[in-house]
Structures are given as C-alpha cells and as structure tokens.
C-alpha cells in the first residue's frame, strides 16, 4: 500500500512484551519527545507483536508517497537516521527493512507462508484504542450474531468451521459449546484460559496484548451461544501488559455497550472479569483452573463430570483457550466455509506457533494447518542457527515430544503430530541441533513437569520424580542396563494411571526420545558417552595442538586455572582440574579447543 501524499507520516512502534524487552519503550519515548519538541508532522502509535520477535524493536513507517515498511532492530540512533532519511528525504533504508511492499528482504519467507487469522490485527492496531479495532470490523461479529443468528446457528457455524481447541487437546469447539448449551441450568459461565504455562510459549500472551478485543468478542459470542451471563479470563499475573490491555479493552467495551446489560439493545447481557493466576503450570488444566478461580488450591479433579456439566461453582461452564476464542469472530464474519477451506481434513484453519531454540528466525508465526514441519522450520524459520545440523523439534512443550529429522515432512495437524508421539499442544516449537543431548532434553522437560505436578496423585508426584532420578543418573554416566526398561514401564504406568493431563502426558518427552534416539541413551549407559557432547559428566575439553596459536585467551578465561601454556606455545588443559564449563571453547578464535566424549579418551591423549 502506498500512502497518499495528503496524509501525515504515521509511525507505529511494536509494543508487545517482546518489543519492550528489546527496548521498544525507549524508542517510543524518544520519538514522542522528538515529535513534541520539534513539532514534527508525524502521527505516533503503538501496536502489538508483529511476529518477527528476533528483530525487535520493530517500527512501521507509513510515509505518504512511499511504500509502508517495517524496520527491524531499531535503536534510538537508527531512529534518527530513519527520520532523517526516510521521513524527511523519502529514502527507504532497504538494509534495515524486515518487511516492505516491493522490497525483497531476507525475511520475506517469514511472512509469505503465513496466514493471519488469529493475528489478523496484532501489529496492525493500537491495542489500547477501541477505535482501531472497530475500524477493522471489530465487534461486527457479535453484532451479526445478536441481530441475525440464533444460538444454535452460532454453534452450527462453529461446528461447520471445524475449529478445534487450541489449548492442547484439540477438542472440537462447536461440540463443546453444544454440550454446555444442552446442560440444564440458568447460570452458566464462559472461561478463557490464558494461563499459558508451557515454558517458552507466548502465543496467547501476544494475542492478549496485541488484540485483546478479539478474545472478548469470541467470549461474547460463546456466551450468547451457550446461554451464559458471565465470563472470566484467567491470565497469569506474570503478564502485566496483557492484564492491563485486557482491562482497558473490557472497560472500553463496557462504555460502548459491548459488555454489560442488554448488549446492542438485545436481551443478551454479559460481563467479563479478569482473574489473575499465580503461574502454576497445572492451573492451566481446566478443572484446576476452575478451582483456582473459586479461590481454592489449583488441583485437578476427575472428569466426568466435565465443566460443561459441572464447572465453575458447580454450574455448566465452557472453557476455551485464548487462541480458540480469537478465531471465533473471524469465522462468524468470513463464514465457516472459508475457515474450513484452510487446513486438512480434520484440522482446519491456522495455528500459531512460537518458534524458538536453535533457529535462525525465532518468533511467532501463524500457519495454515497441514503445512509441513520442514516448511515451518526451514522456510519460515530460516533453518538452523549457525547452519548446524537439524536434529529434532520439540512440539507441545513439556507434555509433547521430540520429532526427529526423518519425520520433518509430517504435516502440522492434530492427528499426524499425535502419530509421531508428539502433540500439537499449545504451539511451542523448540528446534534442536546436533549439539543438543536428547537425554538431557527429556530430563529438562521432566524436571519441569515433576516440579509443577500438583502433588495429588501418586504416579505424577512420585513416579515422575523416580523417572527423573533415573535420567539424571544416565546423564551422569551412572545409568544401568535395566534403566531403559524401567523408564518405559514407569512411563506407561504414569500415562495410564494419572488423574489429569499433566501426569498423563508428562512421560511424552521421555517416550519420544527413547523411541527416536534410543542410541543416545545407550551410548550414555554402555559407553559413558554423550553423543551430543553436552552432558558435563561425560565430556572433556582438550586443545587441538595443530590449531592452537598460543594466544593464551583460553587460559585467561578459565575460572579454575586448568589451562597452562606459554605464550605462542600449545596450551594444555588439565582434565583433573577442568570443570567442563566450556568457557575456553567459547572464546577460542582458532577452533583449537574440542569437546570429546567419553571422558576416558582423555588418558589416550595424554600419552
């Protein structure tokens, strides 16, 4: 889009948590000050996450007569240049552009393969202004629903769209609404699950920060569909910006009559309030979440009865994920057909992922269902950082699993991912390269779940701890041959015998790594070797004499003085002293330090 010359320049700063963390606040303030001081003809706005988090702070500049571009890595200093060159002189600074019409950038692929439904507004609007939302068909869906549709029609529309829950399990949303609608009772509730407990996941946060009203509107529509009068958004207190923006959105909606009594003059009344969670992973589980809203300890209880029958305060309750709700207004406005046209037979629409780990372009992406993992990782994500070798991708967080290289062509849909042993989950995607030890990865996730277990059931509380102890033993090189069987048996029992999803899925990372990377486990146990050369107890560092220039850098950084050697002479690492911190390896400019495993190799070198 080319802006017309009559308009002022508009600058939009990405002010989601990711942007602010990277310094967007400073940029925004500096710009604001400058505009005021010099009385520049510039309109300044802020928006939510634009998606290229690894290039934050991101600033979009719309200057009349020039293509709209997004600049990345904008510092206060770069900003000066942008104002000078781009705004004043009309020169696009192509090198810094992340996205821009007609400009080819290295980031094009990041945007090309994406389809933005959930993120349709994120990065485009100022999330603190209701007018922005309204200008992009905001609250049109609820208007359409209230004025033209019966609750049953709404449910049918959602059912036909094929939308499935984005919180993890992928239960068909329309069906869930139908159950809640059919449950007898006058008092019913809607809950939006914004707990987002997976480590490293931030999709829901971005939606709540960047486009809070889509969530509200989705909840309103659900409320109308099931016959509820009240809704709660459960959001973790660690998301202060999301809390603030949701709060603003709720207040503005109340002022404009989108929330409260007799919405849009109809008989439908609905209000929404926020409940802040303390950030326990298990509180994302729906029954624990309900207990937490009721002021009790967040401890899951057995289903049935499902929340749709007996939920909050014993009343029928429909609980959906943030992303699920954010899809709803779009479906109502664009029709179930259009939504169902995207994706595969059983998985429709799009899914937002948080790309992280050893990947070139980490960030938030929204892709159509059915796209292959390879496309996501290599085309959109740009491949592996430092061009190392791809080893596995962890999907679904601590409840998910690791998918190896030979399954990279697996399409992203619920069933195909489940078949690999991983799950769609809430959308965490952690990419690993050849230096990631899979036993250690399993240990990491298991450690997380066993600490987050609510402690209610025996398997989850004690079983995961016993598994963890075995994994820790293996990574220390103290594994026993029978350990793998023991792990598998425990994992099976924990899955079968735990009460809630946390326990039932906790062994997944272990099971998938055992399935695809059993050789790594065996190397640890039988050869005391860590193939990824990452488990501290099984590795050593040594100098490669041919490469060493005797620059002494390594000796200077070694915290325990394990390295000796004269200047310009080949250095030597004393394995007795070395704590295998890897500091020397990181600093050496000549690739003269190598990691080896198993440790026994050290002796052979000495001789």
């Amino acid at each position: 889009m080319v802006s017309s010359p009559s308009e002022k320049t508009k600058i939009v700063v990405g002010m989601a948590s990711c942007g602010i963390a990277a310094g967007a606040g400073d940029v925004y303030n500096a710009l604001k000050e400058k505009i005021e001081k010099e009385n520049l003809p510039i309109v300044l706005e802020k928006t939510g996450c634009i998606g290229a988090c690894y290039r934050e702070p991101l600033v979009e500049v719309q200057t009349p007569g020039l293509p709209t571009v997004i600049y990345g890595d904008v510092s206060v200093k770069r900003l000066e240049m942008i104002l000078e060159k781009h705004v004043k002189n009309g020169e696009v600074l192509a090198n810094w552009v992340v996205k821009g019409e007609g400009i080819h950038t290295s980031e094009d692929a990041l945007f090309e393969k994406q389809v933005r439904i959930v993120l349709r507004n994120a990065g485009e609007i100022d999330p603190e202004r209701i007018e922005d939302y309204l200008s992009r068909q905001g609250y049109q869906a609820i208007r359409k629903v209230l004025l033209n549709m019966k609750p049953e029609d709404v449910i049918n529309e959602i059912r036909n769209s094929g939308l499935r829950g984005r919180g993890g399990a992928g239960f068909p949303t329309g069906l869930k609404w139908q159950f809640a609608r059919q449950s007898p009772g006058k008092e019913k509730y809607i809950i939006c699950n914004g707990d987002e407990g997976d480590p490293g996941a931030f999709m829901d946060r971005s939606v709540m920060e960047g486009d809070p009203r889509s969530v509200l509107e989705g909840m309103l529509i659900a409320g109308y569909a099931i016959g509820a009068q009240e809704g709660f958004i459960y959001v973790r207190a660690e998301y202060p910006l999301a809390v603030k923006r949701l709060q603003i959105a709720i207040e503005q909606a109340r002022e404009r009559g989108f929330l409260g009594k007799r919405i849009l003059g109809t008989n439908f009344s609905f209000d929404i309030s926020l409940k802040l969670g303390a950030g326990a992973f298990v509180c994302g589980e729906e029954t624990a979440l309900i207990a937490s809203i009721e002021g009790k300890r967040g401890m899951p209880r057995l289903r049935p009865p499902f929340p749709a029958v007996k939920g909050l305060w014993g009343k029928p309750t429909n609980i959906n994920n943030v992303e699920t709700f954010a899809n709803v207004p779009w479906i109502i406005l664009n029709g179930a057909k259009k939504f169902a046209a995207l994706g595969t037979e059983k998985s429709k629409g799009t899914k937002v992922f948080a790309l992280a780990g050893k990947i070139k372009r980490g960030g938030m992406v929204e892709v159509p269902m059915g796209i292959s993992l390879r496309e996501v990782i290599f085309d959109i994500g740009g491949g592996i950082a430092n061009d190392r070798e791809f080893k596995a991708v962890q999907l679904g967080g601590p409840s998910g699993g690791c998918v190896p290289a030979n399954l990279l062509d697996t399409p992203v849909d619920y069933e195909s991912l489940n078949q690999t042993g991983a799950i769609m989950g809430s959308g965490g995607m952690v990419v690993m390269d050849d230096r990631t030890c899979m036993v250690d990865v399993a240990r990491f996730f298991l450690n997380f779940t066993q600490e987050e277990s609510c402690g209610k059931c025996t398997f989850c509380r004690l079983g995961t701890k016993r598994m963890l102890e075995i994994l820790e033993r293996i990574t220390r090189g103290e594994g026993k041959p029978e350990d793998l069987d023991k792990l598998e048996k425990l994992a099976y029992n924990i899955k079968k015998g735990s009460l809630c999803g946390l326990g039932q899925t906790a062994p997944n990372p272990v099971l998938t790594t055992l399935k695809y990377f059993r050789d790594e486990y065996e190397a640890h146990i039988f050869e005391k070797r860590c193939p990824a050369k990452s488990c501290r107890d099984l590795i050593g560092y040594r100098v490669i004499p041919e490469n060493c220039t005797g620059c002494t850098l390594c000796a200077r950084v070694c915290p325990v003085n394990a390295i000796s050697g004269e200047r310009k002479q080949v250095h030597y690492i004393n394995p007795e002293i070395c704590t295998r911190c890897g500091a020397c390896y990181e600093v050496c400019n000549f690739d003269a330090i190598e990691v080896f495993s198993p440790v026994e190799l050290a002796e052979t070198v000495d001789e």
């Binding site: 300890r297 057995l302 402690g455 209610k456 059931c457 025996t458 398997f459 079968k496 015998g497």
Partner: protein, 838 residues
C-alpha cells in the same frame, strides 16, 4: 424429565450386577464384596482420586479410571484384577514405599523379628513399621500385604522432615505421609475448619496449616477428626502412641459438657485407650470436641487414681478395707442431726448416683442439706439461667434455623461440635451473629461479630429486644459495628422465623448476668426464638430433675411443695421434714456447724475444713492441702452404668466400659452400702437398673433404662433458687486507680472437681487455667514476659498468677479462670496489674 431407572446393570469381573444409579464403581464393588484396594477414599469424605490404587479397567475407556471417583453406567464392563491393573497398583505401592520407612514391610524376617524387639524407641524417627505407632493398624501395611509386594525396585529415600511435636494431643511425622488428603478433606469438608490444606508443589507437596504455622496458631480445634482418618502413622495421638490396636469398643456418653456426645470408647486390656466419635444424628453426628476425643484416657488412667479406701489416722493416711470404711462412715453419720450433715455431689455423676445421693440425705439423714455445687458456676444468674433452660430446644434445630444468635459462646475447644453445626448452618445459608468480647474462631467465621466490652452484652441484647418489640427508633449501643449495621442485624432477626439463640458460658459471670439473661429471655420471646443454653456440666439437667438441691425435690418440684412431699414419703416409706434454712454449697455455715460433710465428686475448698469429719469420695485424692478424714475410691464415668441428661433434656445411657481400678466402686453403690450399714431401708439396689426403675416412678422420661427415649424431655423448675450472697459485690469502677478490667470466670472444663488442665497434658496447653490472659501489647507495656508472675490487685483482694499473652483480648481487659469455689467476685472487676517480685 423422564423418570430414570433407579438401578443400572454392570458387569464386574464377568459377573452381572444391578447397582443403584449414582454409585461409584467402588461402592458397587464393596456392595458385592469385591475387593478393590484403596487408600485415599474414605466413607465420610468426598471422592478424591489421588492415590490411584483403586484403578480398574473399564471397557471403552482410554486410561484406567479410578473406581472411587467413577460413577457406574448402564452396561459398564469393569475388570478389577487384570494383570495390568495389578501391576500398576504394585507400582504405586512401590512408589509410596520408595519414600517411606518401609524396611519392615518387605523384610523377610518381619514375622519373626517381633519377638526380639527388646526396646521400643520413642524417638521421632520412624525407622520401620515395628517402630511406627500405627503398626498393625496401618492401611498402607494392609494393602502392601494384600498385594504381596516383595521388593522395591527403587532406592529408598528418607524425606528427612522434622517430626512436628510442638502442638498438644497429636504428633505429625510427615515422613510417613502418603498425601491421601483425607485429613485435609476432613478438616475442610466435614469440620469446615479449614486448618489443613495442601501446600507446595511437585515432590515438595505436603499437607498442614498454611504458612508453616503450628496448629495452635492456625485455629485448630484439636477435634482429632484428621487423626482418625489418617491411614498411616503420620498423625498420631500422643497419649495413645504405643497402645496399639483396641480390642473392644463401647459406646457411651461423654461426661465433659452438656452437649452429651456419643463416644465410642476404645478399650484394651480393661483400660480405656481412646475415644472416637460415635454416630448419633441427633447429637454429635459423628463429631467430638477435643475433650471427648483426646482427654479421656489421661484423665481416667492417671497413676494417682484412688484404688482403696483410706482414713486419716494419727496424721497419717492408712489403707482400710471397704468393710471398715463403710462402718466408719456409718458411725460418723449416725452422730449427726439433720442440720449437722451436708452432702455435696457433682453434677458430673450419673442420674442414678444423684438420685441416690439426695435420697440418702433425705431418707437416711432426714436432712435437706444436699446440694450440687454446679449452682456456684451460675452464681447470681442461676434463676435466670434456669428460666432459659426451661425453654431449651434440641441442638438439631440449629440445622433448620434461618438465623442463629450466639451469646458468650466460644466453640473452639469445648463444644466444637456445636461450632461445626454453626459452620454447616452458614454453608446452607443461615445467618450467624455472635456477641462476644473476645476475638475467637466463632467471631472470625460468623457473618457478624458484635464485640462489646465484658458485661456489655446486655446493652446489645436490650437494643435487639427493644427493636424487635417494635421500638425501631431505639438507639444501639456503641460497639465495633456501626449503628446502621446493628439495626440491620436487628431487622434480620426480626424478619427471620425460627431463630435459635445459643448461650455459652462466657456471659454467665458478670455482676449484670441476671439482667443480661433476663433480657435475652425477653428477646427470645419477641422473636419466638428457641433458646439453647449449653450447660457446662454434663448432667446439670439430671441434677435438677433428681433434686440434689435444698430447694428441689425429684421431678423439679419445690421442696416446699407439701403434696410432693407426701408422695415421696409414700414411695420412700419414710417421714420427711424438709429444712429450709438457707444452707447450700455457697453458704455451708448457714445453719449449725457441720459434723460431717460428705463430698461426692467435688473438690475441697482450700480454707479451713468446713466440718468436723470430711468424707471425700472421688477418683483422685484432693488437690487441696486439707486431708479428708475418710477417702473413698469412686468409679469414673467410663467404669459405671447409668444415664446422663444433657442440656437439651435428652436422657442418654452411660456404659461401664472397663472395671474401676483397684477396689473403687460406683458412687451409688457406696452410698447404698453406708445406708444399709446405718440400718436404713430403701437402699437395697443390686444394680442401676433398679434405681432407674424407682426414678421412673417419680419422674417422667425415665421409663426405659436400656433404650431411653430419643426425644428431649422438657424441664420445669418449681420455685426459685436461693442465691448465695457470699462472694458477690458490686465493683465500683475507678478507671484511674484501676486501669484494667478483670474477668475472672469459674473454670469450665472440670470433671468431678478436677480441672482437665490439671490431669491432661494437652488440656493444660489449650485451656491455660489459673493463668492471667492479657493483650500482648498491654503486657509488653507493663514490661512483662510470657510466664512472668503478675500481681492483680482490686479493692478487695490481691492475687498472683503467671501471665499469658492472648491476642484474642482487647487492650485493658485481662482474664483468668479459677476453680469455682475459689471465685473472687463478680465481673468485670477493676484491677491494677504489676509484675510480682515474689
């Protein structure tokens, strides 16, 4: 909705059964004696599904559902013992044992080694089942045994948690805890006390009060309900720690207050080793308070129990035979003119004891000088209190009342069963209002807590009474609540129908109490409310009905009632001249000097001996320095048959659960023997049943000894009691000279004249009798440390007590409880307080 079939058909282990709809799989299995191992489920608690031991296979279900939480459905195919299910169960047990001190459970020698266990270590660390107090009663042991665990495939960890012993009554060794959550559910769901909760997460998950507080600090009522349901040795009664398994149980009535809870006494080797709640839906409904739950064994098994009669002889005490003791007593009693004799009997005694005691005085001694010193507990408020008692409604009415008003009631320790009823009432939507000067559990949970200064209850009640009588413009007194709130509360009371008013002990000991209770009576009439006075003495109503008072004859008749006297003379076949000379236990010297004073279950006063010859009949020797001339060993309530009549007027059975120690005898039997020795007719009873039959002839409601009527009988008292004048005086407040107000109440938790706090270790901690309670800020200002002796001076006396900090009290108010025969005046008493340097 279409009428649903009441049962469903399920197939359990290839057999088809019809079970009621709504049953869980576990209930269905239990009904047909199919064993499914369980640990966290408990019949009195909601399903939890935590231990996972009860998993079963259900066709069509993805994972193994837990039998205790899964409802049966039509056509369900359930398998309870497949190899897979068993293997998962075994894994669970192994996981438990991997953090449990379990060496004994899987030790090859476990059957043999018991014989060689030379010592029992009372150390806090449980090193194996044989050293665990729960050995032999542990449910974990039981399932391990049943499932046949042979080895543990994991290294065994000792969690190394500190054993918590700082609270009274029970210890907690969370190294043994399997986190079944029973204690938490018990405390939260059944007791509604919310002391216990799950804390922390993952492997650090633990149960206990929030914020690492002790149970004392967190409002625990020491009801012991949590202890009763703990399947392991984690929660364990201190007093019962090494007693092992009970051999017998005997249900009886608690003797520690007028609620009259049904207790199942736990018996081993002819000793009572514990008390557990028994089901009586009309009374305690499966609950007990700390006294009934924990205080009985220590009280009745004390090493100083009297076992033989003895007499004072040349300044020494010498054992004598019963024959000699009876002869001595008879000789001494025969010397007395009717007004030279006095008999005091505790209203802790059974109805039959009480009846025989007054008959003894009236028939054998021809005297009316018989009294129950319970009257002293009520002091000048006695008549007003009796008027309330006549209006008493059953406790169960609390369960229906839309609004409940409590006055002077503290249910934290004593009568916590009433506290549970109140919390339940709140849960079902009843309004609970409490008037109390102290901040305590009930004050904190009630909807409204009105906090007057001590003695200021009357003004609030007065306001309510006027308001509800239609005087809506009456102005409320100043309290912690605004006038508007008080008006609102008055309005609520007025609008509710079926209000119940509960009266505790802490409103009885003010100089203004007679007026306060009279206003309360009026308020009750305005509201048409039922009143439930909760007498402190378990058989106070029994003592009134039996007439163990100079003013009363059996049946509640005045002793001046000629017609009644005639009837009695007929039944008793005697001639009877009542004496009404103002003699009573508060005024022993009203008539002639006493030759013999006969004390049954009553404490000795500490001053001069009140008679030439003292007969002391009790379960322990007196705490007072005075030595009785003749000491007779009596049976405790666990050792005798009979009945009690509780505060509602319900006749309840007391059962002999064990034999009295040594040669001790029930009170009635001793009395009858003496009477016979004196040659008096009418005391040839061979058992309690015969006495009961005689009572039945005179008083309604005592027809069936073995199955007393279930409904509460009503009480009518003819005439008025004489109020003892001694010891009462109006205090003139002088705020400058006497900056503190002392509230000195008679000790309430007493059995046969002995404070529970003097016989039961834990009771000493929770009741803190004869200790001056003081607001911590006041105490610090007076430079006092907890435990310091303080001197309390009023216009009339000077006393020294140790001080205890009590945040429950407002500033400027101090409080103490003392034995009722050592009361010092009527409250509140203006006093000066300073550190004592004695």
């Amino acid at each position: 909705m279409r009428e649903k079939d009441a049962t469903v058909t399920v197939i359990i282990d290839n057999q088809s059964y019809r079970v009621p709809r709504g049953y869980t799989i576990l209930q269905a299995a239990e009904r047909f004696d199919i064993y499914i191992p369980t640990l966290c489920s408990h019949k009195d608690l909601s399903p939890f599904g935590g231990c996972r031991l009860c998993i079963v296979e259900v066709e069509g279900m993805r994972n193994f559902p837990t039998a205790c939480t899964t409802p049966v459905e039509e056509g369900m195919i359930i398998r309870t013992h497949t190899a897979q299910v068993q293997s998962v169960r075994k894994e669970i047990l192994q996981l438990f044992l991997s953090e449990h001190t379990s060496s004994c459970l899987i030790c090859d020698e476990r059957e043999e080694c018991k014989r060689y266990l030379g010592t029992i270590r009372k150390a806090g660390v449980t090193t194996g089942c044989r050293y665990c107090p729960k050995d032999g009663q542990c449910e974990l042991q039981e399932v391990v045994e049943k499932l046949g665990i042979q080895e543990i495939e994991y290294p065994i960890y000792y969690r190394n948690l500190r054993v918590e012993k700082e609270d009274p009554f029970y210890d907690r060794d969370y190294n043994l805890c399997i986190l079944c959550g029973r204690c938490v559910r018990m405390c939260q769901e059944v007791r509604l006390a919310n002391v216990l909760a799950f804390k922390q997460r993952g492997r650090n998950t633990i149960v206990g009060p929030a914020y690492a507080r002790t149970h004392l600090e967190s409002g625990c009522e020491f009801c012991g309900a949590c202890v009763s349901v703990c399947p392991t040795g984690t929660l364990y009664e201190k007093a019962r720690k090494w007693e092992g398994v009970a051999q017998l149980e005997q249900v009886t009535t608690c003797s520690f207050c007028g609620v009259g809870c049904q207790i199942s006494l736990q018996i081993k080797a002819d000793r009572v080793i514990g008390g557990l709640p028994a089901e009586d839906p009309l009374v305690n409904n499966g609950q007990l308070c700390v006294k009934g739950r924990f205080c009985i064994p220590e009280l009745v098994n004390g090493p100083w129990r009297l076992r033989h009669p003895f007499k004072k002889f040349n300044g020494l005490e010498v054992d004598i035979s019963w024959e000699d003791a009876i002869t001595l007593a008879a000789e001494q009693l025969s010397r007395c003119a009717p007004d030279e004799f006095g008999l005091l009997i505790s209203s802790n005694c059974t109805t039959e004891d009480l009846y025989i005691a007054q008959k003894f005085a009236r028939v054998a001694m021809g005297s009316n000088q018989v009294d129950s010193p319970a009257r002293l507990f009520y002091g000048p408020a006695l008549n007003a209190y009796l008027a309330l008692l006549e209006k008493s409604v059953p406790l169960a009415e609390v369960r229906e009342a839309p609004a409940i008003l409590c006055v002077g009631l503290d249910t934290r320790y004593g009568r916590s069963v009433v506290g549970v009823e109140l919390r339940r009432a709140m849960h079902r939507g009843a309004r609970v209002i409490t008037i109390h000067p102290r901040e305590h559990n009930l004050a904190l949970t009630a909807h409204a807590w009105i906090q007057p200064p001590p003695g200021g209850e009357g003004e609030i009640l007065q306001f309510f009474a006027r308001f509800t009588a239609g005087e809506e413009s009456a102005s409320p007194p100043e309290t912690n609540l605004s006038s508007e709130t008080l008006r609102q509360l008055a309005r609520e009371l007025k609008q509710a129908s079926g209000v119940v008013i509960l009266v505790g002990s802490e409103v009885l000991h003010y100089s203004a109490s007679p007026q306060i209770l009279a206003v309360l009576h009026r308020l009750a009439e305005n509201l048409g409310a039922g009143v439930l006075p909760l007498p402190a003495q378990n058989n106070f109503v029994g003592s009134l009905l039996m007439g163990t008072y100079p003013e009363l004859l059996p049946g509640g008749f005045s002793s001046a009632n000629e017609k009644r006297l005639k009837e009695l003379e007929k039944v008793w076949q005697t001639e009877f001249r009542p004496l009404t000379n103002g003699w009573n236990s508060g005024n022993l010297s009203a008539g002639k000097p006493l030759k013999v004073l006969y004390l049954i279950g009553e404490a000795l006063p500490s001053g001069e001996p009140p008679a030439e010859f003292l007969i002391f009949q009790n379960i322990y020797p007196p705490d007072s320095p005075i030595r009785p001339d003749l000491t007779l060993p009596a049976a405790a309530f666990t050792e005798a048959d009979g009945t009690f009549v509780n505060g509602e007027g319900r006749v309840q059975r007391v059962h002999r659960a064990v034999n009295p120690p040594g040669e001790a005898l029930p009170d009635w039997e001793i009395l009858c023997r003496i009477a016979r020795k004196m040659g008096v007719r009418g005391f040839d009873f061979s058992d309690v049943r015969e006495i009961h039959r005689e009572i039945a002839a005179l008083v309604d409601g005592f027809q069936d000894f073995d199955q007393p009527p279930r409904q509460a009988r009503s009480l009518t008292i003819e005439g008025k009691f004489q109020i003892a004048a001694s010891g009462s005086f109006e205090a003139k407040p002088d705020g400058k000279k006497y900056p503190y107000l002392l509230n000195a109440a008679p000790l309430e938790h007493v059995y046969r004249g002995f404070p529970l706090s003097s016989r039961v270790e834990g009771a000493r901690v929770i009741f803190a009798d004869e200790v001056l309670h003081m607001n911590p800020r006041d105490a610090r200002r007076a430079r006092l440390q907890e435990g310091d002796p303080v001197e309390v001076t009023s216009q009339y006396f000077r006393k020294v007590w140790p001080v205890k900090f009590s945040p429950e009290l407002n500033r400027g108010i101090v409080q103490v409880t003392v034995l009722q025969n050592e009361l010092i005046g009527l409250n509140p008493i203006p006093v000066i307080i300073r550190k004592s340097h004695v």
